[in-house]
């Protein structure tokens, strides 16, 4: 239960605190990160990647990203894999992920806006 609200200022503070909780219900945001969660992805550790991503995004206090899941992208040997769709609709695909790489993607690409070429999948 919330603390006693003694002034309109208290009310505003409480609102700001709890607002983030409801952000998810506002729908899909401008940046979308899709983790491929086929059987292959899950076997390779996609679940951990997804969990790490969610925590990383939250601790970086990033509000404009929606996390999604989808099925196998067809490159089962590069799993775990994610696809990042940026504001302009451009897609970036990262593979062979682990916790460190996820941290870098969040920090450099999502926050910094610079795609990390060496982590991206190439033909």
């Amino acid at each position: 239960m919330a603390n006693k609200i003694k002034s309109p200022k208290d009310l505003l503070k409480l609102k700001e605190k709890v607002q983030a909780e409801l952000e998810l219900r506002k729908g899909v945001k401008e940046i979308q990160i899709t983790v491929h969660m086929g059987t292959c992805g899950i076997a390779a550790g996609a679940r951990d990647v997804l969990g790490t991503l969610a925590r990383e995004l939250e601790s970086a206090a990033i509000g404009n990203v929606t996390l999604r899941q989808s099925g196998c992208a067809g490159l089962c040997d590069r799993e775990p894999m994610l696809t990042l769709t940026d504001k302009n609709g451009e897609q970036f695909r990262y593979g062979n992920l682990d916790g460190k790489k996820v941290h870098r993607i969040v920090q450099e690409h999502v926050v910094g806006g610079t795609p990390i070429v060496e982590l991206m999948l190439t033909d």
Partner: protein
């Protein structure tokens, strides 16, 4: 929340809870735990999302995917598929009626797309048990703003400027009410909330209390500040336990947070709130009765003035608003009156929540801007009427309201427009009724309700509604009297004008409004002892029988077929309709549309069974005929050997008369022989039933035309005592667009008649048929068979609205006919005096017209040309009365057909009777049969002064039936059709009869609605 990536919102409104939402929610929780997802995904139980009939429902965010009709097993699937692997479980998505495609996203579903949520802004979005979620969505900000930035006067001013009106039903301006209470003298004032929602089918207040209780608490605190009160009461009915629980919880949280109680948010403003539970008496929704009930006294109204604003609860100034009204307040304060007033109409601002119920695909709670046309609510949000039935009326405002018929589907739903039609906005119950609703029975239901709920204090309401109920009940039971309608109106108006409170004043509304819009239905009950909708038990032996214009005992002949007693079955059929074989082929079977088996799986295949039955006929089965040498001597003439004339002759012959039938064309049968193609009705089948009628003593003289070979006057001069006019509507209407006189342009009736009677007709290479009725389809399919290379039907509305029988349209397409809908021809393109094409424009569907359908309107698209060397117009039929009546003064209908009494067929000239298309305008074969029968009885009564129609006596069939057995569970047997390549180039009959085995099984599907416990 540590990295929560998804929210599953499970609707926990009472509707969904009742259908198992809590079990579904628990299944989500345990499935998430099983997959180790409980920290990543939260399950939130929210308030009502709206589509209650689809419950339990859930929405998965952030994607906003809507799932419906969930079971605990489905919840596990959603977790394993969607939440784990990102695969949307489409089988649980919404599907638009009639389509297979799943619509996943909540916002793309028509039901949600067209709504505008203000009152329900938090319902289905937040967890109503957590005040934090309300606060996260600007909760209590309006109260803070009012307390710190506004004076009480400016709060009232803002509400006044918003144009908000009471949502409890009467629509009194809310701001004014607040001002009156503020200005009232008194040291103690009360703020009250009316949550005594009692209209059958209305549940918007309950949903707000369940889904967003804080919105009401906040609004009441604002109101208290505005009028100078420190104490409020919410009067809620005890039948709403979940609402009471959530509201109690919310009040507790608000107190704990200091948002109720002393010195709220440090502003010095005190306000507290208590719940008072009522025991569900409808009258306690009336304000003075409600206040007495809060005081602990018997809930009875008292006369006003004094108004509650001056003397209310405990004689103190009191402000009473409805739940939905309060739910608007916080948004008005926060977003401003101008924003609020931008929604709605000139006199009715904002939105209104409706509880959509009845015969509509999507039932539930919907919120729309006031002034939204009724048709949009029913069709775009409600998804239309299920099972392809027709919209009949909408009852708005519950037992205090009235009905709106299909002619007014365009009415903007606002206080004034509804009132002008005799309905009221009321609290927002909106019950959609289809063709299967009896309006008299509906009025009786609501009258019974108000009669039960009348508190008994004043006489007009207590006694008056009882008297009204007695009258309406006897009408439903077939004992109504001619003057009953006027009695109801007089009584209703007195009750309305003299009752003490709103309950009594509005109680007659359902009766008055159904009389206003559906008087003919009352008259059918009273005069014809007939319930057109097939509802009232005393008048309806079985819905199929009552739907049949010829009143054939359908369960009777069907059950006889089931016992292989085919000859008896046929005789039973011919007892009311001589044309068993004809109707087995061409009847439009309203019986099947009303068949109760349709509610279970599909209707019984009545026409298919009839076809099987007539195939078994070896010797002609003639029903009972009475000999009467006296009757045989009397001269009766029947003009027109179509189904109406021949039926009239048939029934007269059964009474011993020997009428003479005159037919203008070379062959008897009327439209049956002239226009219905042989692939639908083989000529021998028709000829056989006509021979039967001839053998009964009816003389048919062909090639004898009224107006050419004889006149009505010459018949009278020859000693005819009675004449039946059954000349049909034999003239097809021509086109009225430029180029109509070109060579190659013809009209469907002429085209069909020429082929059917003469055996040949010129057919083009590229044929265009204009129209959407049966004549259009018959002409198109005939053209295909006669070798046209391409045949196109142009119709200006949509396929669903084509008057032609669905089966016929489908088969036409199978045979290669192109169907182009939503196009209107504007000109026949002519070259060298011959037509070469039809110039058309695309149409789109505009507003609802008086037929309850969307009116096709021309678009801005460039016109286009459909190539055609033959254009056949099939746009309607008419009758040239001048020629046939030849100076006899007969009253006509507004559509220029002969006006005839519905019961006897008698016209304004006593010896002249009429029926069939000549009287009703173009209609169906079986309607003509019914009209012929009624006229035969009418003529007999006219000649003898008595009714001798022995065939109308109910006939009990002695077939076996076990009322306790479960209905057989197999589906309807479909009729087989001739393969396309075996029918495209000839006129062989397309439909093939059932085998005996199939027919016997199908007959067993009948539910035997006609069965009554035999009295021992």
């Amino acid at each position: 929340m540590n990295g929560v990536r998804s929210h599953v919102l499970v609707c926990a409104g009472a509707g969904c809870v009742a259908s198992g939402a809590l079990e579904v929610s628990a299944a989500f929780q345990s499935a998430l735990a099983k997959h180790g997802l409980e920290n990543e995904i939260s399950v939130i139980e929210t308030g009502c999302l709206g589509p209650c009939a689809a419950g339990p429902v859930a929405v998965v965010y952030p994607e906003g995917i809507f799932y419906q009709k969930l079971t605990p097993v489905d919840a596990e699937d959603i977790v394993a598929e969607h939440l784990l692997k990102g695969r949307i479980v489409e089988r649980l998505n919404y599907r638009k009626a009639g389509t297979e495609k799943a619509i996943s996203a909540l916002q793309e579903i028509g039901f949600f797309e067209k709504q505008r949520k203000v009152v329900l802004r938090n319902c289905g979005v937040i967890d109503p048990t957590r005040i934090e979620e309300y606060i996260a969505r600007d909760g209590y900000q309006a109260l803070a703003k009012a307390l710190t930035e506004m004076t009480p006067e400016s709060v009232i001013d803002e509400i006044k400027k918003s144009g908000l009106r009471g949502r409890g039903g009467a629509g009194f301006p809310t701001g004014l009410k607040w001002e009156f209470t503020r200005k009232a003298k008194g040291d103690k004032k009360y703020v009250l909330c009316n949550a005594d929602e009692g209209d059958p089918g209305a549940f918007m207040d309950r949903s707000v209390l369940e889904g967003d209780p804080h919105s009401v608490i906040e609004a009441m605190a604002i109101a208290a500040y505005a009028i100078g009160s420190d104490q409020g009461y919410v009067y809620v009915r005890a039948e709403y336990p979940l609402a009471v629980e959530r509201l109690t919880n919310a009040i507790g949280q608000a107190r704990e947070c200091g948002l109720l109680g002393k010195n709220i948010m440090g502003t010095g403003f005190d306000f507290d709130l208590e719940i008072r539970m009522g025991s569900g008496a409808f009258v306690c929704g009336e304000e003075t009765a409600l206040m007495r009930s809060i005081e602990g006294k018997r809930g009875e109204p008292r006369p006003r003035p004094p108004f509650p604003a001056n003397q209310g609860l405990w004689e103190k100034p009191s402000l009473l608003n409805n739940v939905e009204t309060y739910a608007n307040i916080a948004t008005i304060i926060l977003r401003g009156s101008a924003w609020f007033a931008s929604m709605g109409t000139e006199k009715s601002k904002g939105t209104k929540v409706f509880a959509l119920a009845g015969a509509v695909t999507n039932t539930g709670l919907v919120e729309v801007p006031i002034g939204t046309p009724l048709g949009e609510i029913v069709y775009d949000i409600g998804g239309g009427i299920p099972q392809g039935k027709a919209f009949k009326a909408a009852q708005i405002g519950g037992p205090s309201g009235g009905c709106i018929p299909k002619e007014h589907l365009n009415v903007p739903v606002d206080y004034e427009s509804l009132q002008a039609l005799g309905a009221i906005m009321g609290s927002g119950g909106l019950i959609v009724m289809d063709e299967d609703t009896c309006m008299v029975d509906m009025a009786r239901f609501f009258l019974e309700f108000v009669q039960d709920e009348s508190c008994g204090k004043c006489v007009p309401c207590r006694v008056g509604t009882k008297r009204m109920l007695e009258i309406v009940t006897r009408i439903c039971e077939g004992a109504g009297e001619e003057a009953d309608i006027d009695r109801l109106i007089a009584l209703g108006e007195q009750i309305r004008d003299s009752s003490l409170c709103g309950l009594g004043q509005t109680a007659p509304n359902p009766v008055l409004s159904t009389i206003r819009h559906f008087r003919d239905e009352y008259e059918a009950h009273i005069r014809e002892k007939r319930c057109p909708a097939g509802v009232c038990p005393a008048l309806v032996r079985a819905p199929c029988i009552s739907a049949c214009p010829a009143n054939v005992n359908i369960p009777g002949f069907v059950s006889l077929i089931g016992e292989e007693r085919y000859a008896e079955a046929l005789r039973l059929h011919r007892n009311r309709n001589p044309f068993a074989s004809v109707c087995a082929r061409v009847c439009f079977h309203t019986c099947e549309n009303k068949c109760r088996r349709g509610g279970l799986d599909q209707p019984l295949a009545i026409r298919g069974l009839k076809r099987f039955m007539v195939e078994q006929e070896v010797t002609l089965q003639v029903p009972e005929v009475v000999d009467s040498p006296e009757n045989a001597k009397r001269k009766i003439a029947i003009i027109g050997a179509g189904p109406a004339g021949l039926s009239c002759a048939f029934f007269l012959a059964r009474l011993g008369y020997q009428p003479k039938v005159f037919e203008a064309e070379p062959r008897p049968g009327g439209m049956l022989v002239q226009t219905i193609p042989a692939y639908r009705l083989p000529r021998e089948e028709l000829a056989r039933e006509i021979r039967m009628i001839e053998r009964m003593g009816v003389d048919i003289e062909t090639n004898t035309r009224l107006g050419r070979d004889f006149t009505l006057k010459s018949l009278r001069d020859d000693g005819c005592e009675a004449v039946f006019l059954g000349v049909g509507a034999p003239d097809g209407l021509g086109l009225r667009i430029p180029g109509r006189d070109a060579r190659g342009v013809t009209e469907a009736i002429r085209f069909l008649r020429e082929y059917n009677l003469r055996g040949s007709v010129p057919v083009g290479k590229n044929v265009v048929v204009i129209g959407g009725g049966n004549a259009a389809v018959d002409a198109a399919r005939t053209a295909v068979r006669l070798g046209a290379e391409s045949v196109t039907i142009l119709y200006r509305r949509t396929r669903d609205e084509m008057p032609a029988y669905k089966e016929e349209v489908e088969e036409a397409e199978h045979e290669g006919v192109h169907l182009r809908t939503l196009v209107a021809p504007v000109e026949v393109v002519v070259e060298g005096g011959r037509c070469v094409g039809v110039k058309c424009t695309n149409m789109f569907l505009g507003e609802f017209d008086r037929s309850g359908r969307r009116r096709p309107e021309a678009g801005d698209d460039e016109p286009f040309i459909v190539e055609a060397d033959q254009v056949i117009a099939a746009i309607g039929q008419t009758l040239d009365l001048k020629q046939v009546l030849d100076g006899t003064e007969v009253k006509l209908t507004p559509w220029n057909f002969v006006a005839a009494d519905r019961l006897s067929g008698q016209t304004s000239v006593p010896w002249l009777f009429a029926g069939g298309d000549a009287a009703s305008g173009p209609a169906s074969v079986v309607e003509a049969v019914g009209a012929g029968e009624r006229a035969a009885v009418g003529i007999d009564e006219y000649l003898t002064g008595e009714n001798h129609a022995f065939w109308r006596e109910p006939i009990e069939v002695d077939t076996a039936f076990d009322p306790d057995a479960d209905p057989v569970d197999y589906p309807r047997a479909e009729m087989k059709l001739l393969p396309i390549n075996k029918r495209r180039a000839n006129f062989n009959e397309v439909e093939l009869p059932y085998s005996e085995k199939v027919a016997l099984c199908e007959a067993k599907r009948c539910l035997r609605c006609d069965y009554r416990e035999r009295e021992e």
